[in-house]
Amino acid sequence: MLRTNGHAQHHAAPQSWHLLVFSVGGRRLAVRTLEVSGISQWREVIPVSGRTPFVSAVVRLNKTVLPVFDLAAALRRTMGGNSRLCLRVKHPLGDTVICIDEEIPVLQTLGLSMIQPYRDRDMPAEGSYAHGQEEVPILAVSKLGMGLW
């Protein structure tokens, strides 16, 4: 499902980050590949009434039930398309899934020198990089839902 872009991972310099670039409601984001557990087709969610911000549903994957972090709502974006994807990430409290756009995510390797602090505060980020005129935040998965950004 993934295609590569830029430098292949095995050619990367030691001082680099491997990223998975995807989009949510048309907003481009990245996440470190070491924080990704997998990608699959999005499936029906099971709503869970509660008061935790942006965590209000679960999905069932065979015998596992994972919480859904509504990143689109956190970013005030509207998801489109009928073939959304499910990004499973490694959260300190347990794997979490995020609904992402149907556009196939791209693997990318960045030298550390290209990574800058993320200036905006609309999401927890480990940094960002420039993609043309666009600043692409690198999502800090461990801080999702922690209210630390």
Partner: protein, 178 residues
């Protein structure tokens, strides 16, 4: 799925018996109640129930679970049934859309609520139970009946009886269970 037909008697578990749940639907969502707290199920042909049904001399005040779970906008449904709950001396009943039956679950089917749910809902649910391709949230009976217990406490305080102390202790133990 091993959901069997509806039964009206209470199912008392033993320490070795598998957990049993009554699976219901409220507002289109699967909610499970631990069978040991179920006193019975009332089914109405015309969908009308008294505000506080009396069964075998016991009054069961209605717990509006749809409102408490913020399902108020999804509250209208057909074929309402009522689940009678009791936890010690505390009783209440819950209107549900449908009672699917009793699920005798294997331990591996019962999961905790993911830790990412960190709000007060951790006290609302006892966990989740898997069945078919679905997931039912297991309600915390102590939380469901919380208002009934508080009501009992208020009435007792008004009467000025000594049992208020005992009820207060009972309520504290319920809250700790949450």
């Amino acid at each position: 799925m091993s959901v069997s037909g509806k039964r009206e008697e209470c199912v008392g578990p033993t320490s070795t018996s598998p957990p049993r749940f009554v699976i219901t639907t409220i507002g289109g969502r699967y909610l499970a109640f631990e069978a040991e707290y179920i006193q019975g199920v009332l089914t109405s042909e015309d969908g009308e129930f008294l505000p506080a049904p009396v069964v075998k001399g016991m009054t069961y005040r209605v717990v509006d679970l749809a409102v408490r779970l913020n399902l108020a906008s999804e509250r209208r449904w057909d074929g309402t049934e009522v689940v009678l709950l009791a936890d010690g001396t505390c009783r209440g009943c819950v209107w549900v859309q449908k009672v699917h039956g009793i699920l005798e679950a294997h331990r591996s089917q019962v999961l905790p609520l993911p830790a990412q749910f960190c709000g007060p809902e951790r006290g609302w649910y006892r966990g989740m139970v898997l069945f078919d391709h679905n997931v039912a949230l297991v309600m915390n009976t102590a939380w469901v009946l919380e208002e009934q217990l508080e009501g009992m406490l208020s009435r007792t305080e008004l009467q000025g009886t000594e049992s208020a102390v005992a009820l207060q202790g009972a309520m504290e133990s319920k809250n700790q269970a949450c």
